[in-house]
């Protein structure tokens, strides 16, 4: 294909010296030369290997668990069960940036006690001198199960006579959408699988539909998919003689690792040091943990350091995929295309413990639009599957699949261009959202206008059975507390200490903000991710928050340095501080042009002028600013085999300000690729016994480069007023539109609307046969 335009556009509205440029990432060379150390790379003297015995059943009562034969096996140093972990009370706690945890459920998910709640649920663990001995010992653990009927689907779980995943689970149907609680022992009510139910209402729904000239209804379903990160989970733990514990692991938040591990080990957080390793992908799934407390329990019992590393099957079977969902949307509109009402029902499977991303789905489903009358309800349902974990823009992709395919149908029935329909109804600053609050400044209109003007949108659709689809997506973005400490070196560089694990190039994007303030080259900033003893509390790398919140921490620390530099120069020159300025890395007197010192010159004189110059900041900035994306996709459908090929893809997104455009583009491209996999290939294929039948990358098909065209990006910049450079998070909304956009393109190509994911060849052929009335 010949491009008739420049790909990967950045529609900049503000230019800076360092911000907005594309330097080589500070961690890049070590990563491509194999020097970077990931979680499983830790080696320690006397390190033991830990292995986990997992339930073969999706739902079973553990009637007997005897580890004595395993403990006696040569080389085995420790065996632990669920009773080696603290089981805190079943109440929810906040973990900042929207994260929340119920420690009882966390403990029970790390290792089962009385019941195995999904295939792969940890039952016991062994530490031995080597992995082989540990694996042999697992075979000697005697478990007697009473196999129970598994509850595998939300609709089945919601029936009054359904088997219960937790006999004493209480529905938490309040506005506080906490992970569900446990009924008191003397409470006569029956437990439930409905962990939560909530609603949002705006305006008069009935009147809204009465005002409509046209109504469209849609019903979609999705199944669990995995984030598919390359690096499996791994954790290493070592206890010290003074009772302190050191934990090494890769995660999206080592302060969370510290806090979770401390709680499950029953020790104060101050006695746990979590050391962040490099991370080989997370996408939300490494906001929680599995291996670290198991390694800590084994290490405590054995008196030696222990490493626990999952294999790929364990990652699939025992860590959180995203939810399976059932969603319905009903839209009303006037004949000129104004939305008058929206009614949305979202049912999300949470897995074995409460806490699906249904709040995210419910709050994002209408987020992109101005709809005066709305009703939204969400259900959080426990089933005998692995506890779900976050996955980019948690909840929003499945919601958009239903809503945005309904919008496409509405545009078709109204005879409107699908982008024009969205423009007519787009959210803007001040729009009343269906959930109540007013929309902050957002760039939906600018993104839609850029999409409509993009050459892709009007390019000819050459070829047989080719179709084009568009869809939009919304995500709120998150923020949270963060810390930065910047130390000026004698040769005029800056060592930047921060607490945000770098999962997407944020060492660079945070350093650029510091370099911009100080007017120094980005190469002179040396970022490091510090352990939990060495930097202030920093909330998770999640919610697309790091470049925003840790960027503000670095920006603030840099201003601290600037002020100290001004004061040092004033001292050297014996002038008033108010007469000294700092600009582009040079400190100078306002009127005496001979009084001038560069950053490097002042850095060399820092010690004799008052000691080391250290800038620091601890922040918790509000106003992360919402993110909006619109995608255009062309597909070609092979009507004989049902295979759908993505032949062209353009993703447009409001980034506020792209601090490092290459990494913004990389985030967008990565999100799109994951969305394409979700749309066309990926699914947990689970049998009636609740066992995943495709728990390897050979059978769980994720797209690779040969499956894909170049993902073209357009970065639109509508500055977030709450950030000094206008940053909005970029890593999540990019996965929201692809499934709907591809479904809409398939409809354009072959005239059938697919309402279930994945839209694999079998599903496409079934739909074609049904449309054509052909024999199968």
């Amino acid at each position: 294909m010949t491009l008739d335009y420049k790909p990967n556009l950045v529609l900049s509205t503000q230019e800076f010296n360092v911000v907005g440029t594309r330097p080589v990432r500070p961690d890049g060379a070590d990563k491509v030369t194999g020097k970077a150390r990931y979680s499983a790379d830790i080696t320690l003297p006397g390190l033991l290997q830990g292995k986990v015995l997992r339930s073969p059943h999706a739902h079973a009562r553990i009637k007997k668990l005897d580890v004595s034969r395993a403990a006696a096996y040569p080389g085995v140093r420790a065996v632990v069960t669920g009773y080696d972990f603290q089981e805190p009370a079943g109440r929810a706690s906040d973990l900042t940036e929207g994260a929340m945890v119920n420690y009882k459920f966390l403990s029970n998910n790390v290792m089962a006690k009385d019941k195995a709640l999904y295939k792969g649920h940890a039952i016991a663990a062994v530490a031995a001198a080597n992995a082989h001995a540990a694996e042999q010992a697992l075979n000697l653990i005697d478990v007697e199960y009473e196999v129970l009927p598994p509850v595998l689907h939300a609709k089945e779980a919601m029936q009054d006579d359904s088997a219960l995943v937790h006999e004493r689970l209480a529905a938490m149907s309040t506005a506080a959408i906490r992970a569900g609680g446990i009924l008191d022992d003397d409470d006569p009510r029956r437990g439930t699988n409905i962990a939560n139910h909530f609603e949002f209402r705006l305006g008069d729904l009935e009147q809204g539909f009465n005002d409509a000239d046209i109504i469209v209804e849609n019903e979609t379903s999705t199944v669990a998919v995995h984030q598919g990160y390359i690096e499996p989970h791994s954790g290493t733990a070592m206890w010290h003689e003074d009772g302190a514990l050191t934990v090494w692991s890769s995660s999206q938040g080592h302060f969370t690792v510290r806090d979770y591990t401390a709680r499950l080990m029953g020790v104060p957080v101050s006695s746990v040091k979590a050391i962040p390793m490099e991370i080989g992908g997370g996408f939300g799934a490494k906001l929680t943990m599995y291996c670290e407390p198991v390694a800590a329990a084994l290490a405590r019992k054995s008196g030696a350091p222990v490493k626990v590393t999952m294999n790929r099957t364990e990652v699939f079977e025992a860590t959180g995929p995203t939810s399976g969902t059932e969603i319905t949307v009903k839209l009303g509109a006037t004949k000129d295309g104004r939305l008058t009402a929206a009614e949305c029902h979202l049912v999300f499977e949470a897995g074995a413990f409460p806490g699906s991303p249904v709040p995210g789905g419910a709050q994002c489903i209408t987020g992109a639009y101005d709809i005066p009358n709305a009703y939204i309800e969400g259900y959080d349902i426990v089933v005998n599957r692995p506890k779900t974990a976050a996955y980019r823009a948690p909840g929003s992709p499945a919601a958009a699949f239903c809503f945005e395919t309904a919008m496409d149908e509405l545009a078709e029935k109204l005879g409107l261009d699908p982008i024009d329909l969205r423009l007519l109804n787009s959210s803007r600053e001040g729009t009343r959202r269906a959930t109540g609050p007013l929309m902050p400044k957002v760039g939906f209109i600018e993104v839609l206008e850029a999409a409509k003007a993009h050459p892709h949108y009007t390019a000819p659709k050459d070829g047989k059975a080719r179709g084009r689809g568009v869809a939009s997506g919304f995500w709120g973005n998150n923020t949270g507390p963060s810390a930065a400490v910047a130390t000026v070196t004698p040769d005029g560089c800056v060592n930047l200490a921060e607490g945000s694990p770098d999962i997407g190039g944020t060492r660079a994007s945070v350093s650029q903000q510091l370099a911009e303030v100080l007017g120094i080259p980005i190469e002179d900033v040396h970022p490091q991710i510090m352990d939990t003893d060495s930097i202030g509390f920093t909330s998770n790398t999640g919610g697309s928050g790091v470049t925003f919140k840790t960027g503000i921490a670095a920006y603030t620390a840099a201003h601290d340095i600037r002020q100290q530099m001004i004061e040092r120069a004033a001292k050297i020159w014996d002038v008033d501080v108010a007469d000294v300025t700092y600009e582009d890395g040079v400190v100078q007197h306002k009127s005496d042009t001979e009084l001038r010192l560069t950053f490097k010159q002042l850095a060399a004189r820092q010690v004799p002028t008052g000691g080391p110059i250290v800038g620091s900041a601890g922040v918790n900035p509000p106003g992360a600013g919402p993110a909006i994306a619109t995608h255009i996709v062309d597909v070609e459908v092979d009507v004989d085999t049902g295979k759908v090929e993505v032949v062209r893809y353009t993703a447009l997104q409001d980034a506020g300000k792209a601090i490092h455009p290459s990494y913004v583009e990389g985030q967008i491209q990565g999100g799109v690729v994951q969305g394409i996999g979700w749309a066309l290939n990926e699914e947990y294929f689970v049998n009636d016994a609740g066992q995943m039948m495709n728990s390897s990358f050979l059978d769980y098909r994720m797209p690779v480069s040969l499956d894909l065209p170049m993902i073209d990006t357009v970065v639109v910049e509508v500055a977030n007023p709450n950030h000094p450079y206008g940053v909005r998070g970029v890593g999540e909304v990019c996965i929201v539109p692809p499934m709907a956009a591809i479904a809409n393109a398939i409809y354009d190509a072959i005239g059938v609307r697919l309402t279930s994911l994945p839209m694999n060849p079998g599903a496409v052929l079934e739909a074609l046969w049904e449309k054509n009335g052909a024999d199968k």
Binding site: I177, F198, P357, P394, T435, G731, E732
Partner: protein, 89 residues
């Protein structure tokens, strides 16, 4: 007075009222004062063990999620919402 939007699940306590005017200069004062008008609401919004907003709830003041929770200042014209907090990926 600030306008507090009552979550649908709590509107049985307010007799179906969706929005109420509440005096107070901080979210903490709003939560205390709203309980005077509609006893029982505070127990759903406030975690007395942690002296904080109930876990899993976000406070939205004038369109922005507050990072200060009970300590957030509100103006006479402010609009305050209590919504489920959303975790990122």
């Amino acid at each position: 007075m600030a306008e507090v939007w009552i979550p649908p699940q709590m509107q049985d306590i307010t007799g179906g009222l969706e929005r109420v005017q509440v005096p107070g200069a901080t979210v903490r004062q709003l939560v205390n004062n709203i309980d005077q008008q509609f006893p029982g609401l505070k127990a759903l919004l406030y975690d007395d063990e942690e002296d904080d907003i109930m876990p899993g709830l976000a406070v939205i003041v004038d369109g922005e999620a507050s990072q200060l929770g009970l300590l957030e200042r509100v103006a006479e014209t402010s609009e305050v919402h209590f919504l489920p907090a959303i975790g990122g990926g």
